[in-house]
Amino acid sequence: MGKLDGKVAAITGGTRSIGRGMAEAFIAEGAKVIVNGRNEEKGRICIEEINAGDSVTFYKGDATKQADVEGIVDFAISTYGKLDIMCLNSGGLANTAPVAQMTDEEWELEMDWNLNHVFWGMRKSFQHMIPRESGRVIVTSSVEGKLGKAGTPGYNATKHGVNGLVKGAAKEVGPIGITVNALLPGIIETDIVRSTGPESAVAMGVGTYENLIGMFTEESAIKRPNTVEEVAAVALLLASDAGKNMTGMLFPIDGGTMPY
């Protein structure tokens, strides 16, 4: 008997890394899961690798596009009949820069990807969950949702933004069986960090990818990056019945980096 038997989950940015880890953890506990991503080919590979038959379905959509994000909720309902758990996990940055050199285009991309996507997905999920008086919304924020690194202004701002959204929204739906929480991972060497890390390292003034990882891990107590499995384990707890009274949490998974 699984902790999520009979539950339906959707995960934005679910084909790789943290989202993928959540998907696999949820499926192992009996959930049916929609994984979302932009790339059809990566989606196909993900579904093949997870190899869970009818328990997992790919939804192609761009997390920076409102219609695509809202479409996930409709897709979950048409595919599996409902949506119990919405993981708004997609996010990142492309060409970050210090404030003085930040382009409007990059700023807008990060706003759409990290903040607006979470709002769109949460609003649409609530409209389905509120009448059912049941639901879980789990947002992937970041240590940068409480701290601020030089050279990543958009990321800092959007992750602080989602934390505020989570706290207020938790109060709106708290008495009616819906929880809203944020996960705040430290640095994890995901595919996206490996691909954008070298350029971010330059923008952040630390030179190399290794220095970038070191800058994060030095601030932690464990002196190493965090792992996908650590984040997935927390997501599973929050998604399960055991998490019914946990809401408005900004859950650090950062090896002791955050001061509060």
Partner: protein, 261 residues
């Protein structure tokens, strides 16, 4: 297969309330557990009710005494050969400590600090001396929503629980690279036996009834109700498990959305 198979845990204040629920959750996940408490009679009753044979053991001791705290840790090692998990959970406020700061006695402040903060320090220090050589350990302290915010009339508890959170953060950095994590759980109000016993006096000192007191805490939360012991137990299982190796120095609010940070 449990998440805590083969692990040895010590739970202070483990015969009732949060500690009891957590001890049972640890047992369910395969750990062997020492529960501690002041009263041997309550200890025996807890063992009878838990009914887990040799997987659970009671040691009596008063956590307001350093030698008792150290004996609880040593007793755990003597019984089961090691200690992997310390849940420093005992604590509370006696009725004589409910007073506004202007009227607070030294004794009232000291009693609460000893019960909550010194007990956590004494057990943590003793446990670390076993965990550091074995390069593995999980320490979880019961703080409170009052470890992050302050309620009037309850300053000794607010101070003690803030101090626990400070201790947790510092210790986490000391042992972070040694396979040892140190975290606190910060529950909102839970109607445990100890709250049922001492709550009416606190309520009276605040000029309200016990029911109004529960309501006061519930109203500040997002869920508009108080928490349950099982909420805390589930978080403790996660923190105690192997997969939580990267979660340390965290002050985890289990308060239905009450704490602002």
């Amino acid at each position: 297969m449990g998440q805590l198979d083969g692990r040895i845990a010590c739970v202070t204040g483990g015969t009732r309330g949060i500690g009891r629920a957590t001890a049972e959750a640890f047992l369910r996940e395969g750990a062997k557990v020492v529960v501690t408490g002041r009263s041997s009679e309550k200890g025996q009753r807890a063992l009878d009710e838990i009914d887990a044979g040799d997987n659970v053991h009671f040691i009596s001791g008063d956590v307001k005494r350093r030698e008792d705290c150290e004996a609880l840790i040593q007793g755990t090692v003597d019984k089961y050969g090691r200690i992997d998990i310390l849940f420093a959970n005992a604590g509370g406020v006696n009725n004589s400590s409910f007073a506004p700061v202007a009227e607070m006695s030294d004794e009232g402040m000291e009693d609460t600090l000893t019960w909550n903060f010194w007990h956590t320090f004494w057990t943590m220090r003793a446990a670390l001396n076993h965990m550091i050589p074995q390069q593995h350990g999980r320490i979880i302290a019961t703080s409170s929503v009052e470890g992050k915010v302050g309620k009037p009339g309850n300053s000794s508890y607010v101070v003690a629980k803030h101090a626990i959170n400070g201790l947790v953060k510092a210790a986490a950095h000391e042992v972070g690279t040694l396979g040892i994590t140190v975290n606190s759980v910060c529950p909102g109000l839970i109607e445990t036996d100890i709250v049922k016993e001492n709550g009416p006096d606190y309520a009276e000192s605040m000029g309200m009834t016990y029911e109004e007191l529960l309501d006061w805490f519930g109203k500040e939360s997002a869920i508009q109700r108080i928490n349950e012991v099982e909420d805390v137990a589930e978080v403790c299982v996660l923190l105690a498990s192997d997969v939580a190796a990267g979660i340390t120095g965290s002050l985890l609010s289990i308060d239905g959305g009450t704490s602002p940070y």
